[in-house]
Amino acid sequence: MRIRIRELEFEYNSIPALKGISIDIGEEFVAIVGPNGSGKTTLLKCMCKILKPKKGVVMLNGRDINDLSQMEIAKRIGYVPQNVSGTFPAKVFEVVLTGRRPYIGWKCSRKDLEKASEVLRVLGLEELAMRDFDTLSGGQQQKVLIARALAQEVEILLLDEPTANLDLKHQLEVMELLKSLTRKGVTVITAIHDLNLASMFADRIVMMRDGEIFAIGTPKDVVTSDNVRAVYGVEVRVLEVDGNRIVVPLA
């Protein structure tokens, strides 16, 4: 198991956000779904020590992350935030290069430049390298942020709603990219709102409600009309098209 979470609790100003979460995650694609405020983002942030949990442990390859420095964690876990606004003008290449921070002492080496350039090439972003990040489209920005996490050379990738604000084509592109990373042995854990996309791509789905895990398992087991009613309070029908689960809300 790459990540082992036990009895994780977190509070924002004594309002509980996570109430005793326990999961084991290996080399797989895990989608975390749930209504707004159910604790998806908080859970992701606790996994990479952006937030410090009140109780419980997060084990990374068998070691408590509290015993690891932020720098050591940064070499193993990459985090792709949802909100990209409020950043400063920078070239795409510079943004990706910040992903090399855990490896750079003081001066970035040839290897760091090569890694950044390689990641851009793999994601088909090479043409954009010298563009200003804030002039890119939402889909391109999302890919650049993923590129940065890849430049980090991590084995675990945490993403916070990577498909939000993207059109259908870019949503599929990003999800396929993540899927291809799992095939290369990267653990992908993503918070996501779209149940259909989650079912299409994820190996397992974690469905959260009020800071607790309501259901966990394969898309087939988790994405059911009963679960969706219980968690979202919405009546839906779940259809199966070409082996994928499709959630259709009932009027």
Partner: protein
Amino acid sequence: MLRVSAIEEYEKYSLGKVLFILTILLLLILAAGIAVTLGSYPIPFFKVYSILIEHPNSVEGRIVWFLRVPRVLMAIIAGSALACAGAMTQGILRNPLATPYTLGISSAAGLGAAIAILYLGSYAVIPNAFVFSLIPVFVILAIAKMRGATPETMILAGIAMLYIFSAVTTLLMFFANPEDVKEIYFWIVGDLGKASWKAILPTFASLAVCFILLFWKTWDVNVIMIAGDETAKSLGVNPERLRIFVMLISSFLTASIVSFTGTIGFVCLVAPHICRMIIGGDYRYLLPASTLFGGLLLLTCDTIARTVMAPIVLPVGVITNCLGGPMFLYLLLRRRREYW
């Protein structure tokens, strides 16, 4: 089709920045060479250089060696130090208006100087200004420890401090005699007239040490500016610790300059912005560029202040504001893209 790789493009882009820095350095040396030959006491251009080599004990020799050279060096050191501290403060507070003065350093130093002028005697002005200017730093540090070192907390705490110290200074001036008030006022405006060899060594040492310490953190400042606090953590950078470290060093640097020169404004705000518009926000290049450019800017302004109405020497702060302001507006209008 010949394809240029991303690395080559990036290296070309970086090379441009290095050339910019070298150009500024060259201009600075050139400006210093011209500035020593100018002044209200006319000494021919080449005579100045023979004096610099021979050190004669004549009136002209003493003017060049004990008035002009220290003043030129002090202008460079002060301008560089203020711009260096300003660039870093803007970065860590993620605020284009932030300067070390935003943290209350200037008004605290002003109060320290005022107390020394009124009650202690002129010998105490420099040490007292220095000690006082570090007070807001420790107050902000204490507040940051309790409430978290976010840019908002630090800026607001700094502004509050600025008002408190100015109010106390005003109160002291209100009850002081006119001669002292004038002296305090001129101290607050800032001036390089008191530049002497004795001031060069400590200020230069402070600039050199602080610059190296700040330059060491430029990568991390890039990360928190580009990625934001939370993502910066996932990249291995602790934003709060970085912010406190940079604030301490920048404040110390500013305090060590301001206690000698008074609060020369604007250089610390404008120099980093001008450089940022030209070479972008990568601090590995922006910090050295701003530092050199600040020196060049203050030296140019001071030389104008000394010569434009000679033999009257204007306070350098007036010239920096009169020149820097329009220059800044011009660049603001001309820029082709968002730079902040």
